[in-house]
């Protein structure tokens, strides 16, 4: 990795990679957008990634050629749509190495998956005095559903603390575990800090006291290999739109015996076996949790997102993104008055920072004027911001189509922000 210490010719990647970044960029039409007169630099990938042509084509291809409601139709289009829908389920099963495809439940996204577990497993199996553990770095979507449950059932929500680098205090976690601990719901990778949490260890320790574990994989799935069997997690939930797939769909993986034992979440069509006005019986997994017509087009297209990632190679992507993170960390640290929030040893390609004397919103507005899209604010992690004593941060997050030239533009942009606000 000596490559990037040299002065580089323009438009050449300064990071050594086997990936053809130029070609990859061409797969994403949106990267050609001009924003405020400048070529777009998109560094808001932790919020949502852009979509490759293959995914866009899959969505329009579905609507153009085989749009039909699935599972019940007997005509050609319905069969074709059902096959594509179920093929996506099996592709996702393979992607996360779930033992059975019935354990892959389609949801509207990560938030939906967490709510499903809180409202079904939680309401059925947790009771007054039971403890639910989360961490300081949770997204609001992994806080509020549990607070709602605690309010209803009288459970106790406890929070695993972190150190100043943004890493979990595992000793404290172990001390918090007891026979009262019934559920642990932990973010795999922090959206605000980029920290990769030691989830395998967290799961193992939780299981030792008999607690069930949900992993919020929203930020993890696009960057890391996910093997739910190796992790031995009880639930794993993520969204496809953060991994080059469409918005409005996500996945909840759950161990079969748990999903079988859980009551249904929403009532309606598809999730039933038989309905009378006296009572209804429920469908088998996974349909028990998939009431109503699902987001067929986006589920179908999700497979193409995973195929796209696979065609590039998950390892190559991970290495390249890590090199972008290293490059950007060095470059940003060279700016006077810039402080990186979240300096964990294990990180994905997310950098949160604060700039002395600059409100994060001002930073965001002035970068936007320069065509650079970052995220500013509390990132839906207000308790975490409070832990660091700050109202929010500016956050740049990188995906496989980003380049060191774009990071250079961010650095130049930030120098301009400093000058203008100074």
């Amino acid at each position: 990795m000596v490559g990037y210490f040299f002065i580089k010719p323009r438009n050449m990647p300064t990071i050594q990679t086997d990936l053809n970044i130029e070609a990859i960029r061409n797969d994403f039409p949106i990267l050609n957008e001009v924003v405020n007169g400048k070529q777009l630099v998109y560094f808001d990938n932790a919020a949502t990634t852009q979509k490759p042509r293959a995914v866009l084509d899959a969505i329009s291809g579905y609507y153009e050629h085989y749009n039909a409601n699935i599972h019940r139709g007997i005509h050609h289009l319905a069969e074709k749509a059902t096959s594509a829908f179920e093929a996506s389920r099996r592709r996702i099963q393979e992607y996360i190495n779930a033992p059975q495809h019935e354990e892959v439940i389609f949801t509207y996204g990560t938030t939906d998956g967490i709510n499903l577990v809180a409202q079904t497993y939680g309401r059925a199996f947790l009771k007054e005095g039971d403890e639910i553990l989360i961490t300081t770095m949770e997204h609001h979507s992994n806080i509020v559903p549990w607070q709602m449950l605690c309010e209803e059932k009288g459970c106790v929500l406890r929070v695993i603390p972190i150190n100043d680098a943004g890493e979990l205090l595992m000793d404290e976690y172990e001390k918090m575990l007891s026979e009262r601990t019934k559920f642990v719901s932990v973010v795999h990778v922090s959206n605000s800090l980029g920290t990769i949490n030691p989830v395998a260890e967290i799961i193992e320790k939780a299981h030792q006291v008999g607690a069930k574990v949900l992993i919020d994989g929203a930020q993890a799935t696009s960057h890391l290999h996910i093997d739910v069997q190796a992790l031995d997690c009880d639930f794993f939930t993520f969204s496809l739109h953060k991994m080059y797939g469409p918005t409005g769909m996500g996945v909840l993986y759950g161990k079969r015996e748990l999903l079988e034992a859980m009551p249904p979440f929403r009532g309606g069509g598809e999730m039933i076996k038989e309905v009378t006005f006296e009572r209804s019986t429920y469908n088998d997994l996974p349909y028990k949790f998939e009431a109503g017509t699902p987001n067929i087009a986006d589920v179908v297209a999700a497979k193409y997102a995973l195929d796209y990632v696979a065609s590039l190679g998950k390892d190559a992507i991970g290495t390249y993104e890590h090199d972008l993170l290293t490059y950007a960390t060095d470059a940003l640290q060279s700016i006077d008055g810039l402080r990186i929030i979240g300096t964990a040893k294990e990180k994905i390609s997310v950098i949160s920072f604060i700039l002395d004397g600059a409100h994060h919103q001002d930073t965001g507005v002035l970068l936007d004027q320069q065509g650079i899209a970052i995220r500013t604010g509390h990132h839906c992690t207000q308790p975490l911001m409070r832990r660091f004593g700050i109202p929010g941060t500016s956050r740049a997050s990188f995906a496989v189509y980003n380049t060191t030239e774009e990071i250079d533009r961010l650095v130049q942009g930030l120098h301009k922000v400093k000058k203008m606000l100074g």
Binding site: H359, Q361, D362, G364, V365, L366, Q369, G377, M420, L421
Partner: protein
């Protein structure tokens, strides 16, 4: 006789016509933000706060000699500059004038996206609140 709301808007539009790039435009807004007198701490209350997702805006309204006056503040400097313009345009007119006013200057200056970002900066909510005060005082006066 002080200027009408529309005269002040037109002056602002004219001021901004001098700038031909985004940098001078935003430097001017930042300057306005810096020059805008801060709101006295006693008025930075929970009641006067308009919470955006990203920045906070405080708005204090009071009547003086049949005129509705506004004082405001924000923790972000660009929002502060924008707030100062809204105050400049609307403060010091009768509640009737404020209630029926049509604000077009943000759009004409090319800053309407800041009013559209309802959740992020609280500016749109501030404008709504200013009008609400005007309507409330109008009712009291009648």
């Amino acid at each position: 006789m002080s200027n009408t709301i529309n005269e002040i808007q037109d002056e602002l539009i004219e001021d901004f016509e001098l700038f031909d790039d985004w940098e001078s435009k935003y430097e001017y807004i930042i300057d306005l933000g810096k020059q805008f007198p801060p709101l006295e701490e006693q008025y930075k209350t929970e009641e006067n706060i308009i919470k955006g997702c990203q920045s906070k805006v405080w708005l204090h309204a009071f009547m003086d000699d049949n005129k509705l006056l506004f004082e405001a503040d924000s923790d972000a400097i660009i929002v502060r500059g924008l707030v100062s313009m809204l105050v400049k345009v609307l403060s010091g007119h009768t509640p009737e004038e404020i209630a029926k006013s049509d604000l077009y200057f943000m759009e004409r200056i090319g800053l309407h996206q800041h009013l559209a970002q309802t959740r992020s900066n609280g500016l749109a909510s501030m404008l709504k609140q200013m009008k609400a005060y005007a309507i409330a005082y109008q009712a009291v006066n009648n």
